[in-house]
Symmetry: C2
Subunit: 450 residues, 2 copies
């Protein structure tokens, strides 16, 4: 053990680790700032200096608040894979395809360690990239890809490595959590709050990656792969976003003692793995229900360790740069773990279970004509599919002074079920939606313990 001079101790290699950074957006510029501001801390922790020697970005003239003098500039990021003056490639371009994928692939093929913050790339091509990294015998790390500054990957892949994890997930998208928190606090509609979040810079001009749950799904797929030691096929992750959440749902959730959060959840079952992203009702006293605004939270649960929750900033220049730099320190020390926590020998992607196999409690909100027999009709359908009810909310309509509103105005009807198989729920909902008294599509939100 001591023969190789390891043990993370002094007296080892003190030559600088030379970094090439591809992409100088928020995270790339933040990394350069961090490595400069914390130069001596990083050198102490890494056992040697870590220096940026080359960068690649599209626009050389843009002011990023960092001095690029003395750095080699590459217009083509791919050149970093072979620049002889760098030891590690840091890919901060983003996107599952295109130049980011080509650069990471080329760097690994060239036997060069890679650090990336690219969640889409790792979620979608992680199995293939892990095999490349293993063949080359170099690390591929991505702490910054999940939950920003929270060392969630290290916690799951190393800290909990000895346990049989049964569940992993959490609040993985700060934009959605900000929007849901603001909707709850203000009573405003999704579109209003989204517009405000865009104005404040918390949401992109094209918000779909965030609000449709795709970003959270990338992160969930990565966490699930690490927790269960095997990459999860991204296409099999069930994804629903938050666009359909109505201010009414937040009001009813509160009345029932819940909050609504967009959660990513992966669970190990006897018959396979569940991996899903969707809004959830969580009990308002659950720790995860308290995580508001742009904060992220990662929950993991194992047979021996019990339940853990890690909470912090999931995005932004500083937190994300900290995560990238932590990966670089590990590499500088020669510390590494296989991409999915174990050798990829014989490791194939696992398909997550289909939606029909989920088994949850459900909150249903229907818009119904307020006339006799509606509840009987709806509950009869649920009974036919073996769905039993835990509670029901129907508020009498407000007395109207308007004599033209005489017959059957619409009112919301909220039902909460006991745990039931989602296949039954899907069929029951289709039948309920077709009832003459039901207006529009029923809203369905799953209920989680948190």
């Amino acid at each position: 053990m001591s023969a190789d001079g390891k043990g993370g101790q002094a007296g080892g290699d003190t030559t600088p680790l030379r970094i090439g950074v591809a992409g100088l957006g928020t995270v790339g510029a933040g990394l350069v700032k961090l490595l400069r501001a914390n130069e001596s801390i990083v050198a102490d922790r890494a056992g040697r200096p870590i220096v940026v020697t080359a960068v690649a970005a599209r626009d050389r003239t843009r002011d990023r608040g960092i001095d690029l003098a003395g750095l080699t500039w590459h217009d083509d990021a791919l050149a970093l894979a072979h620049d002889p003056d760098i030891d590690v490639v840091v890919e901060l371009i983003g996107g599952a395809e295109g130049i980011a994928r080509r650069l990471v692939t080329a760097a690994l093929q060239a036997g060069r360690p890679v650090v990336t913050a690219n969640k889409a790339l790792v979620a979608i091509h992680g199995a293939e990239l892990a095999a490349l990294a293993e063949r080359a015998g170099v690390p591929l790390t991505f702490e910054a890809a999940v939950a920003g500054g929270i060392p969630a990957i290290k916690a799951v892949r190393e800290g909990l490595a000895a346990d049989r994890l049964v569940r992993v997930g959490g609040i993985l998208n700060g934009t959605c959590n900000y929007i849901m928190t603001a909707m709850r606090e203000s009573g405003r509609a999704f579109a209003d709050v989204l517009a405000e979040a865009q104005a404040l810079g918390y949401a992109e001009a094209d918000p779909s990656t965030d609000v449709d749950g795709i970003d959270a799904a990338h992160k969930l797929a990565i966490l699930a792969g690490l927790a269960f030691g095997r990459p999860v096929a991204f296409s099999s992750v069930h994804v629903e976003g938050i666009r359909a959440i109505d201010a009414l749902d937040l009001t009813f959730a509160r009345e029932l003692g819940y909050r609504i959060k967009l959660l990513g959840l992966a669970r190990r079952r006897e018959d396979g793995i569940e991996a899903r992203v969707h809004p959830c009702l969580v009990p308002e006293r659950a720790p995860i229900a308290q995580v508001d605004g742009v904060f992220n939270a990662v929950v993991a649960e194992g047979a021996f360790v019990g339940r853990l929750m890690l909470e912090g900033r999931g995005a932004g220049e500083g937190p994300t740069a900290t995560a990238v730099a932590a990966d670089l320190i590990d590499i500088a020390r020669g510390n590494a773990v296989p991409v999915w926590g174990r050798s990829t020998d014989g490791l194939t992607q696992v398909e997550a279970l289909p939606r029909a196999a989920f088994n949850e409690e459900y909150y249903l909100r229907l818009n119904v004509h307020d006339r006799p027999g509606v509840i009987a009709d709806v509950t009869a359908v649920l009974r036919d599919y073996g769905v039993s009810l835990r509670s029901m909310l129907q508020h009498g309509r407000a007395a109207s002074d308007d004599p033209t509103v005489a017959d059957a105005p619409s009112v919301p009807l909220v039902l909460v079920t006991h745990r039931t198989r989602e296949s039954a729920m899907i069929e029951a909902l289709a039948r309920i939606a077709a009832l003459p008294a039901v207006i529009g599509d029923p809203a369905m939100i799953r209920i989680e313990a948190g």
Copy 2:
């Protein structure tokens, strides 16, 4: 990077890592159970099997729920330092001195990696042990020493290694948190709740290590050393326990919008490091205020990463064994980090700042005779020491039907100050305690943002 076959990849050493376990109490027996129950998970994650080959404990005949057949038994734990059939010594005996210290010292001197859960040993002798480990070029790890199953040490020492941490701490003792939670929920007195906790096995027969804050101080000293890259002299940590907390304080805290938690807190200041353990009022909406019962929470804050909180089970067989096994997996893979996160070259212990240098907001509860002029007298003293008040609570005494209770019964008077230097507070409190209208010692609890 790839030349040494590292990168945590396959194709490396697949010989088993052989473990000698000293101490077969709850954690030792739990570790043996975990390594057997999760044998294949651990082997996959470690890249090689991890097997217990030798054990040392006092009583060979005791039933621990584990089969000891096939293991070498040592009556003298020290023998593990030289048993030729083990690669790593796991010290689970406990105690800062005696056999635990001798074993860890001897094992490191023999060039053997050590894993320990011994917070007292690391807190008090960590500087000296780090130097020994570094000289031998072997790891000394102790993830289980702080916050049980929460990978707090890995998070602070590796995950946040690139940032300049300014603050670390949290709820570090589950027994105290259980007692404070039960006192708040039931309104009962400390002694009652302690007796119940002892009956339930949440508190020891001799509870002083827990309730006097010593256990939390051990953990805080370790966290502070890791966060600031330099061991903190344990004797300089300011420690107060929870025995003096009155049920009244919990009631007043609630009325003021706070909860009371025993926190360990270390802070980097311009003029040095604060390291202290004491009860705190924290705003009831702060995330750490929500962490109840036996749960622990570790908070860290850095210039780049912002604020993180990690929450989970801080003790118990399963969580603690998980942490020990995670350290073993790191060692099996050849991954290691210096004891205090950096080389010990020229690294001396740092003395934490004295109590007089603290600068806090304070909650004061006085027991005063209910007669005119008392408030004027008390507030005059505070004014003399430059302490300004933020709020005051005094409830009129309940009207008494007892004609013998006629003159000047005692009533509680609660004052909340603005931020002030503790040296001023100490002197002001001595003067206040000496006022004729003040009965007994004033209670003082610091207020933290959480």
